[in-house]
Amino acid sequence: IAAAFDETFEAAGESFSELIEHMFPGGSGRLRLVEEPRPARVLGGADAGGAAAAGADEPAAEADEEEDRDPAEVAGVEIEVTPAGKATRRLSLLSGGEKSLVALAFVFSVFLARPSPFYILDEVEAALDDANIDRFLQLVRRFSDRAQFVIVTHQKRTMDAADVLYGVSMKDGATKVVSRRLPREPRLAGAEPDRRA
């Protein structure tokens, strides 16, 4: 189990850095294994924290050396992203759109390491401006040969990326759905799926 995690984490980490360069041209980012910050340590006492108890005797300052630990004992995955030209590394300070881009890069990086057969994405691009919606859709098209995507949206650009469109309406409290396959040159607009595995 630990081996599967390590392998998946490493593959996801590589993909994440590449995907962040796609989402934030000129920017950079990575995934990092970290030990969870613990509540006040009791010297010599038993640590109640389960897996996080590994290394309970080490001073907090060693938290930066977590890459040396056995990953199966570390507590979590930290995300670091620095958009182009900015110095801030605090994720919480990122804008709404920037946070969405980081989250999508994370989801896709786990996908590349271990694909699910389908993804259902409900208005995940609501905070993105047009240029970033395009970056998101390039990834969807690139990966759509390997996984099925079902995307709920209000954005016209996203509608234009559909192979099949489902129009939903409501009458007297009951939903009705009508679907229509769209005539498309396979992947004419946007990335070819065989690029960049």
Binding site: A103, S116, P117, L121, V152, D163, Y166
Partner: protein, 165 residues
């Protein structure tokens, strides 16, 4: 392997039996506010075993049963069936289709079925994890939920990766 169909009956804003068929590739669902798009997302989460009513915007799980509308009385039960096409054999199963369905009535009675046979939630979870669809449903991102990954604790993101692994 891909989602082949979702059939809803008595679930949220789907009083009558409604079958939605899907193909590989990119499917996009559109429509005005409140027409029922996210109810479809909720149906998939629910059929595949979601335990928290809050995750499907309810306060009790019976909230997912159609409550009535103009000219239509409330229904007494909700049922959703999700069929996954496995003709490429990618799921660890000899079936060419995997059907998972869930039902719930107003008395709180109901249960799951796998390929038509009554089963427990644990059987559904196992069949799904063989198909790489984890229990945390990291492959379904609900409305307003995408930024959670960035706000979540490191430990929670680790769980997402572990479940995929």
């Amino acid at each position: 392997m891909h989602l082949k169909s979702i059939t809803l009956k008595g679930f949220k804003s789907f009083p009558e039996r409604t079958e939605l068929e899907f193909s590989p590739g990119v499917s996009v669902i559109v429509g005005p506010n409140g027409c029922g798009k996210s109810n479809i997302t909720d149906a998939v989460l629910w059929a595949l075993g979601e335990q928290s009513p809050l995750a499907v915007r309810g306060q009790s799980m019976q909230d997912v049963i159609f409550a009535g509308g103009r000219d239509r009385g409330a229904r007494n039960a909700a049922e959703v069936e999700v069929v996954i096409d496995n003709s490429d054999g990618a799921a660890g199963s000899e079936f060419s289709e995997i059907s998972v369905s869930r039902r719930l009535d107003r008395n709180g009675e109901g249960g799951y079925r796998l390929n038509g046979a009554r089963c427990r939630l644990a059987d559904v979870t196992e069949a799904l994890s063989d198909a790489s669809l984890g229990r945390e449903m990291h492959s379904v991102i609900g409305q307003g939920k995408v930024e959670e990954i960035v706000l979540s604790k490191p430990r929670e993101r680790r769980l997402l990766i572990e479940e995929a692994a």
